[in-house]
Each structure stands twice: as C-alpha cells, then as structure tokens.
Amino acid sequence: MRRMRGVVLAVIALTGAMSLVACAKDAGRRGSVGGQAAACKLADKPELIPGLIATTTATGERIDGSHLRVGLAFDVGGRGDESFNDAAAAGIDRAKEELGITDVREVTASHQESEDVKQSRLRQLAQDGFNPIIAVGFSYADSLEAVAPEFPNVRFALVDATVEGAPNVTPLLFSEEQGSFLVGVAAAYKSRNCHVGFVGGVETPLIQKFEAGFLQGAKAAAPDIRVDVKYLTSAGDFSGFNDPEKATHSTRGLLDRGADVIYQAAGGSGKGVFAAVDDADGAMAIGVDSDQYKQKNLAAYRDVIITSMLKRVDVGVVDFLRAVAKNDLSAMPDVLNLKENGVDYATSGGKLDDIEDVLEAYKSQIIAGNIEVRDRPGA
C-alpha cells in the first residue's frame, strides 16, 4: 500500500514536471516574438519629393445625383465582409450623402456560382431600370461582356477588371501593389525580428499583386528581411476567402516560425488572421481593403492592427457615380494609383505616427516614378 502511494506520488510529480516543461516551452515559443532575433538593419530612407501627394480629395463643386438609380452587384460575401465588398459599400454610402442618391439596390453573388446566374443578376438590374450598375469583382468580367451590349444605354462599372469592346463599361482598376509596398515598408520598420509574413486568401493573380508589393516594400526598407508567404487555398478553390479557422492555423504557423508582423489579403478569412495575431505576444497585423482598425466587427482585435492597405473601392465608386451624374466619364483614370488616392495606407490608431515621414517619402517616390512596384511576385 505504501509502495503504491509512492508510485502515485511519483506519477503526479512527473506529470507535474512535464506540464511545467510544456508550459515553459509554450511560453518560450510565444515569447520568442521579439526575443531571439534582432530588428532589421534598415535601408536609408528615401527623400520626400514635395508637392506630389494630394492632401484633399474634395472636388469642390456640388453635383446632384438624386435622379440616379444605382444597382450594385457585390462579389461573394457582400456588404458586411469587413473588407473588399465593404469598401464598395462605403462608396455607395458616401455617394448617398454627397450626391443625394436615394434609390440603390444591392444584390450579392453566391459561392462559385454559374456564369448564367451572374448574367441574370446584372440583366435583372438593368431590366428593372437601374442605371448605372456597378459590378464588384473581376468574376463579373465575362458576364458583363455578354450583358453590357444588350443594354447600350446603361452605364456599367466593373471593379478589378476591364471588358474589351464594351464602351459602356468603365473599369475601376487599382494598383494594389503600390499600397502593399507601403505597408511592406511599415512592416519592416515595425518588425522586431526582421521577419514578417503574408497571408493570402486564394492564390490568384489579384492577390499575388498584394504579395508582390508587400515583398518589394519590405525588402526595399530592409534588404535582409525574411518574408514568409502563405496562401490558404490554391487557384480555383475560393473557400480561402471565407475560412477564418484555416487562416488562424496558417497564421499561427507563420508566427511560430518567428514572423511578427502579418499582412493579410484574405477577404472574410482576415479575422482569423487577426485572431491568431491577437493571441501571440507582441505580434502585429496589417489589414486590407477597408480601414480595418475602424471595423466594428473587428473591434476586439484593433490593438494589433497597426495599419491597413486601403484599396479605395469607395473612391472609385464615388468618382464613377459623380462622373455619371455629370454625364462626363472622360476624367476617370485608367488605374487608380497612389497618385489618385486609389490605394493608400491607414493611420487610424496612431501606431504608425513615428514612421509616417518614411512612408510619405516612399509614397512620393512611387508617385514620382522613381520606384516602380512590380505586380507579380518574383518577377
């Protein structure tokens, strides 16, 4: 009996010790962020070229768009995705205020739907008298190619793609790589390990633009920096844009390897990235598309969101509606770059205040054309 008790005690002691070791290991792993590695050796910061950065977007003149009936066809996720679609939604909301638009119908795509469904969606908007109609997402490109010629008097806008041979379709293109470059610089400056990560939703050419810019920006600011890249799903499987769980696991993998600033371009999976970053000590996250620091549903993670790469779909939408209201589309730029405020970085939360001069300097260099940002990784 006594021996028995000894064995039990020994077992308890052993398991206790083992769990202590496990705890220590765990703590070590979490603590490694900021621990073993040193911050980057930064490249010299470029000169700020004055006078290039537009400070205000206001055009001054008051335009009345109250006669417009706007149709808005969202991509998968729709209003409330905290990201890409919400940026378009923000544009509509602003247009309602600024242009007095009241009649808006919003419809949303389903997950990997068939082509004819997209066409019906656009066609029904046009048939119900909506004009202009804005299609959000490049997956509407083929559908618009079919539908736009059927309604030559309806003005269409297409976010993220062009349609050849359809004069009534205005493309709204953004240089995601330029904005991503700037948050890449920010990541390099903020990283304590000189090691950052990128989480992409689906490995598509569009998301690779985000990756390419981020990579180039980080390397420009800190040539020795390590950038780990992780995509949630490969091309053709769009579940990666809506799988926060998977994003959390993948992000944890990056954090465990020592990355301490994670940039995500993962649509609805983004909150999974934030959750993982929030869990790790000292790690930081960079949002995408909308100013995610301000998103209500992401408020729990706002402490770790140091900035967001803004893809100003809202600017594109408002500019387009303004142009339609004026009946003059000639002023619409081919691509919305940094120069046109089409992409930018967010400063909400004030976590970039100390390096804003650096970012502005890089920004001016890109606008001046001294830095050319690639839109494909490794190219």
């Binding site: 949303t108 990997q112 004819d116 490049f138 083929d142 598509t204 050419p205 053709g236 769009f238």
Partner: protein, 364 residues
Amino acid sequence: MGSLRGQLLPPVLAIAFAALLCTITLLISGANPGSALAAMVGQVGEGTTAVDIVNSASVYYLAALAVAIGFQMNLFNIGVEGQYRLAAVVAAVVGGAVALPTGVHAAFIIVVAALVGAAYAAIPAILKVTRNVHEVISTIMLNAIAAGIIAFMIRDDMFGVLRGNNISTAEIASSGWVPGVPLGGYGTLFGLAFLAVAVGIGYWVLMNRTRFGFELRAAGESPTAATAGGVNAKRMILVSMLLSGGVAGLVAMPELLGRDHTYLMTSPAGYGFTGIAIALLGRNHPAGIAFGALLWAFLDKSAVALDNVGVPKEIVTIMQGSIVLSVVVAYAVVRRFELRAEQRRVGQKLGGAEPAAATAGGAS
C-alpha cells in the same frame, strides 16, 4: 416500396415539409413568404431564366446520374466533384491545343473528358477491389488532390493564360464548340442538353434492360448472394465506378463546349455534391433525377430573383438542405409504413392472428 405511391409520396412530403420550414423561417426573419414565392415563380417567365434552368438542370442531371450509377452498386462516389472538374480542365487544355475538323473536335473533347473522369475514378475503384479501401474515404481525398492538380494546371507557367485578374486555359477553337438551340430572347439552350437526355435513356436501358444492369443491381443489393449466383462482384465494382467516373467527366461539357469555351479559375464548382443530393432526391430513377435536377436548378436561379426583391437568398440553401434531409427521412418512414402494411396483409392471409415477429419488427 415498389408501388407508385411509395415512390412518389416521400418526395412530395419532403418538398411540402421543406416549403413549410422555409415559410416559417421567412416569417421569423420578417419577410413575406407570399412575395417570395411570387418572385420565385415569376422569375421563370423573365428573360433567359427558363432556359437557364433547363441548361443548369442538364448539368445537374449528368452529375446525379454519375452518382446514381455508383449508388446502384452500393458505392458512394463522392468523387464526382473531383472527377468532373479534373476532366473539365484536361478536356479544356487538350481541346484548346488540338486542331480538328468541326464536329470531330467536339466529339474528341467529350471523349477525352469521359476518359479522364473514368481514369480518375479508377483510382478509388482499384483501391477498393485490391485493398478494400472504402470509396468514401478515397474519393474525398482525391477531390482535394484534384483541386490541387487543377490549380497547378491553370498556373500561367503551365497551361493557364492570364485574363486580367482571372486565369483561364487557352480558348477552344470554334470547331470544338457545340452550338446551342437559339430561342431568341429566352436565351440559348445548350446543345449538349440532349447529351444529358441521351445519357439518361442509356442509363435506364442499361439498368433495366440488360444483363449487366441486373447483375449490377444484384451485386449492389447483396454482394455475397450475387457472388453465389455467379456474378463477379469485384468486376462489378470496377465497371460501375468507371462508368460513374465516365459520366462524371461529361458534367462540365455542356458549359465548356456550349458557352465558356475555356476553363476559368472562376468556373463553378460543387456540381458533384449537387449531384449527390439530386440522386438521393430522385431515388436513382432517371425520371426522378430529371425532376430533381429541374427543381434544384429552379431553386438555384430563384436565389437571384429573391435577392432582387430583398428576401435573403440563403433561404434557397435552407430549402435545398431541408428537402434532402426530409426526403431521406420520408423514404424511411414510408418504407416502414408499407412494410407494416404488407406484414399485416401477410398475417391476415396466414390466418387471423398477426405473427409475433412482424409486430415486433414493425413496432420498433
């Protein structure tokens, strides 16, 4: 089970139950079920919706037949999804690379697709007959692998072509297209919708009018009994899986050759899973499946119309899900009911008192 009532009652009950469930859901969410129904029915007459429904139904029909062939042999081919997508991308690549005369080109692409589908289904079939690996496990895994292969094949350094932010395979020359039936403002009916009908007829003949079909169903009901009767069950597994895969390979053909002419990164996925639901709904019967495919396509298209009138389109998914669930339950209930009725009949014929076994079996 053989009676017409036994065949038709469960799906009718299931659809009625699903409709009831959706009505309640709509009422709770504050939408008007009446206007939702009006939008769903009204859309059919609008624009190209009617033709779109038939077009999509032909695609679903092929997918469901592929699943049903497996079901007849008691095989659950979840891999239709992977088989059809892989077949589509290979057929698109091959079709875009070769130059053949009109007609021959299209036929060649269709044959390639069927062969690729069959070849990809051969993997779980061989694993099953040689190593007894359950086809559910192997086909699920192969679906994931197919997604990876597709992503690899449409890379722009492989066979992919960048189209703005999209990726596609090289476009198939017009000699490889299958012209549709233009119906003016109502849209264009896929030419290959007729292929779906032909496959459906072929399926019925094969299952009901050939020795092979009889052996297949027998082996599906009871492999041991069939083996005792001289049927090679392993061969049946292999052949039915290959047939299932071959039909699965055809699933994407109506859209590929009739409309898209290229496989896009954004090409739709999920037809294989839709096929499972429709095969269940149609009880593996070619006419039942046709009805199920049309219903499914109608519900899918309704999503757009509902979205347009401000009713949450997710109601369609709820409806589809509850139909499948309740159809399974309804068949079980009706079957038990009929079994009891039959036992009672038999008991009465045997002379008055109900046999104890039947009561016990029926009441459980």
